[in-house]
Structure formats: C-alpha cells, structure tokens
C-alpha cells in the first residue's frame, strides 16, 4: 500500500486543482490516483490543458 501522502497539482492555465485523494470520479479517475499514474494524454477537466502544464500545488 502506498503510504506517501496525497498531493495536489494545479493547472497553470486555469488554476484547477487535481487532488490525488479525490481523483476525477465523473471522468473515471478514481480517488487515490497518483498524478504520475494519470494517462499521458490526460487533460485538465476544466480547460483541456495538457498534463505537463500542471505543477505541484502547495498552498
């Protein structure tokens, strides 16, 4: 079992937060899905920005 704390990632275009603890259930991304485990072609659910335009978010 992965013991690393869940992290959050922010879209640099629109500010959307990808929270690993929550996932994106309505798009089939289960809670607990690590950012690095998202598909390479995954895009921001809010604005469509590519995955590589997300940065680690530490409020």
């Amino acid at each position: 079992m992965d013991s690393q704390p869940y992290r959050q990632w922010q879209c640099m275009t629109c500010g959307e937060i990808y929270d690993e603890a929550v996932g994106v259930p309505w798009e089939g991304i289960a809670a607990g899905t690590r950012f690095e485990d998202l598909p390479a072609d995954w895009i921001c659910p809010s604005c469509g920005t590519r995955k590589d335009d997300f940065v680690l978010y530490e409020p």
């Binding site: 922010q10 275009t13 937060i17 309505w26 895009i43 659910p45 809010s46 604005c47 920005t49 409020p59």
Partner: protein, 428 residues
C-alpha cells in the same frame, strides 16, 4: 454524411444579426435546429466570408483547446462583414483586429502576455481579495435596499457592482467608472438601440469597425497618461502590472498593452454584470428558486455556476484554421473560418442533461461559459467570487422578488446579457 454541408442562408442569417440575440427563444430555437440538422456546416451569408458554424459542445472543446491549430488573431476574432474587416485592416495597417488583447493573441505570444497577470488571477490570489469584494457586495446590497422595493436591477445594480470591483483593482478612479461603463456598452452592444454609441448606425456594415476604432482610441487617450504614471510610480494595481509588464523580456507592443487594459476594463465586468442580472431574472421568475436558496445557502455556488451557463455572456468567437483538419466528418481547410458558438454548446443536449432547465444539481457543471483551452477566461475565479459574495449578502435579506415589467436582453451577437430587469422586491 447525413447532414448538409451548407446551411440555408435564410436559416442562418439571424445569427449574423445582433437584434436576433435579444430574443432568447428565437436564437436558442435556431441553434437547437442547427445542432440537430447542421451540427458543423458552413454559412455563406452575403457580405461575409464563409464560416463553419460550430454548435456542438465537444467540437467547441476540440477546437478551442488547440490554439496552435486554430488561431484567434489571423482573422477577426469576432463576426465581421467583409467591408468591416477591410476597414479594420486600413485602420491598423494590415492587422485583422482593432484590438490586440489576450483573445486575439496566439501561441507563443498569448501565453507570454497572459503570464503578466496570470498569478494575480489564480484562485489562491483571488481568495485574498475576498474581504474587499465582500465589502463592495454589502455596499451594493444596501444600494438595492435603498431603492425601496422597486428598481431596474440590471441598470441600477448589476451594471455597476462588478464595474466597481474590477475598476478598483485596475486602478481607475471612481469618478471615471461611468465613462468606462459607457465605453463598454458602445463596444459590446454597438448595435443595441439603447446602449450603442450615439449616432452609430447598426445597419451600416462597417459600423462595428467605426465604433470599435473610436472605443480603442478613446481608451488609448485615457490610459496613456496612466501608463506613464504607473511606470514612474508603480502602485501594485493592475494598471501598474500591465504598464511595467515584460513579454519575452521586452515592453509590450503598444496596441497590445492598450488592448490588455481595455479587455480588463470591459470584459472584466460586463460579463459578470450580465450573469448577475441573469441570476435576478431567474429568481424573479422562479419563486421556488429563491425559497430553496434561502433555505440552503450552501447551494449559492451551484446557483452562480448555473447562471454562468444559462447566460453565456460571451456568445461566440471566431477562429481560423492554420492547417487542414477533419472534424465530425467535415474537411476544414487551412484558412477556413470557424464561428464558435458557446451559446449553442452550453445548451447541447448531447453534453448537458436537460439543458433548457435551470438546475442547481449539476455536479460538476462543466459548461463553457468561460471558454476552454488556453484562452479560458483569466478572470473566472474573480467573477465567481464577486457573484458568490453578492448573493450571500443579499439572499438572507431578500424576502420576495417579482418581475415589474418585461425583462429585456441587449441586442448583441458577441457579448450580451440583460439590459433591463425591472423588479419589485421586499427586503429586510
């Protein structure tokens, strides 16, 4: 292919007429028909270059998330006649847009310009503005109360509340706010008989260019001394950030800098005004909605989000294809124009359940009211904050609201919203 590639002129012509957009029943019926029979087909309206009319939610997202393939600045970013575009090129020395704001910029320039203000408009930065916005919201709720039970909510409150929030952030002194509102209305509602520039002739195919050129030059004259002032003495306001902003290590090009200030001073408030007025429109027409929001104030963010979808103040933009592209079985050729209908996408039956019902249970409410892709509205989080603060301040005190006359939408094919929302209301 099951649908025709060309939309009959008599069917599509109303979409090229600003007056049509004041009749929401008519314009939504048109786009509903297009989504069914001509989801991605071409309009060949006399006096205009051909446009692909993009009506489907998924198509709008596919196009607008590929800014490298579908440019916003190579041709006019909004619908314009051939004569109007020719005059734009004459006025600008060959450019296709009077304005060169974020919406008309393409990669890589667009990102560089957007980054000048991007951090200011990220959610964590906007959250720090909450106390100030809350104070302004409370002030406008008091202004509403002072009307004593009757007002035109659009003109008395909705036009002015986001105006004050945004212009204060830019650094425009209060005595100039009314002037900014007037210029905004000339710009976005250039064809509306009540809001257009005095003397403007909407029947003239070059009127939009004439008006927009006047608006540009009036703003330029207004902001030139402010830019000089903020360069000499930066204050931290948005005007200072733009005046001193660097793009690829250099100063901004003049038309782009002026346009940056113009888009902040116009779209920065007009869209939120339209959406706020739409919210009151819905409350006045649906007493059960007010009752539910009063009983469940935690639904206010959902109410705000649904008003954005419902209003869709930015109704369209135009893109041009950089290269050949296949979409929905159509062959789009390099150079082709695409009319992107956000108004249609936000009522697309294939993407949004029960799209013609105003519902608070959409979760998530993934509308395209702020656009999509790299050009998604920079001010979206501020707009949400403004509206949430306003309704949170008002709804506990608003006991009843009913229409006091016909509600009216502005006549505009581009940015539009209610221009008159007369209400009777009771507050404590």
């Amino acid at each position: 292919m099951s649908t025709s590639a060309i939309i009959p002129v008599e069917l599509i012509a109303p979409a090229f007429n600003p007056a049509s957009f004041a009749d929401r029943t008519q314009i939504h019926a048109l786009f509903t028909r297009l989504r069914r029979d001509y989801p991605l087909s071409q309009a060949e309206v006399p006096g205009y270059d051909p446009h692909w009319i993009v009506t489907k939610f998924d198509d709008v997202r596919e196009i607008t998330r590929q800014d490298e393939l579908f440019h916003g600045g190579d041709r006019s970013k909004t619908l314009i006649s051939q004569a109007g575009e020719a005059l734009v090129m004459e006025y600008t020395g060959g450019q296709h847009n009077i304005f060169r704001s974020l919406v008309q910029l393409d990669p890589p320039e667009h990102r560089a310009y957007r980054d000048v203000l991007a951090s200011v408009f990220m959610p964590n930065s906007i959250a720090k503005l909450a106390d100030g916005v809350k104070t302004t919201a409370a002030d406008f709720v008091e202004r509403l109360a002072a009307h004593g039970g009757h007002c035109d909510f659009a003109t008395d409150i909705a036009f002015r509340y986001p105006l004050k929030v945004v212009l204060d952030l830019i650094g425009v002194p209060p005595e100039d706010h009314e002037k900014m509102l007037t210029l905004t209305q000339w710009l976005f509602t250039w064809a509306d008989p009540d809001l257009k520039r005095p003397g403007a002739d909407p029947g003239n195919p070059i009127e939009i260019t004439e008006t927009w050129n006047i608006v540009y030059n009036t703003f330029k004259d207004y902001y030139a001394p402010i830019i000089a002032n903020r360069r000499a003495q930066p204050t931290g306001d948005i005007a200072s950030l733009i005046a001193n902003g660097k793009v690829f290590g250099a100063e901004m090009e003049e038309r782009a800098m002026i346009s940056y200030l113009i888009i902040a001073s116009t779209a920065g408030h007009d869209t939120t005004s339209a959406t706020t007025a739409t919210g009151m429109w819905m409350l006045a027409e649906q007493p059960e909605l007010l009752a539910r929001l009063k009983a469940e104030p935690e639904l206010i963010p959902a109410f705000v989000e649904e008003t954005i979808r419902w209003a869709t103040p930015v109704q369209h933009f135009v893109r041009s294809a950089v290269q050949d592209y296949e979409l929905r079985g159509r062959q789009i050729k390099a150079g082709d124009l695409l009319y992107i209908s956000y108004l249609s996408a936000n009522r697309d039956e294939d993407a949004i359940a029960d799209p013609f019902s105003f519902r608070l249970d959409r979760s998530p409410n993934r509308h395209l009211g702020f656009g999509y892709g790299g050009h998604i509205c920079l001010g979206q989080h501020l707009a949400r904050l403004e509206m949430r603060m306003f309704w949170e301040a008002l709804l506990p005190r608003l006991e009843a609201v009913t229409p006091a006359g016909p509600f009216q939408m502005a006549q505009s094919e581009f940015v539009s919203g209610p221009k008159s929302v007369p209400i009777n209301f009771r507050m404590h």
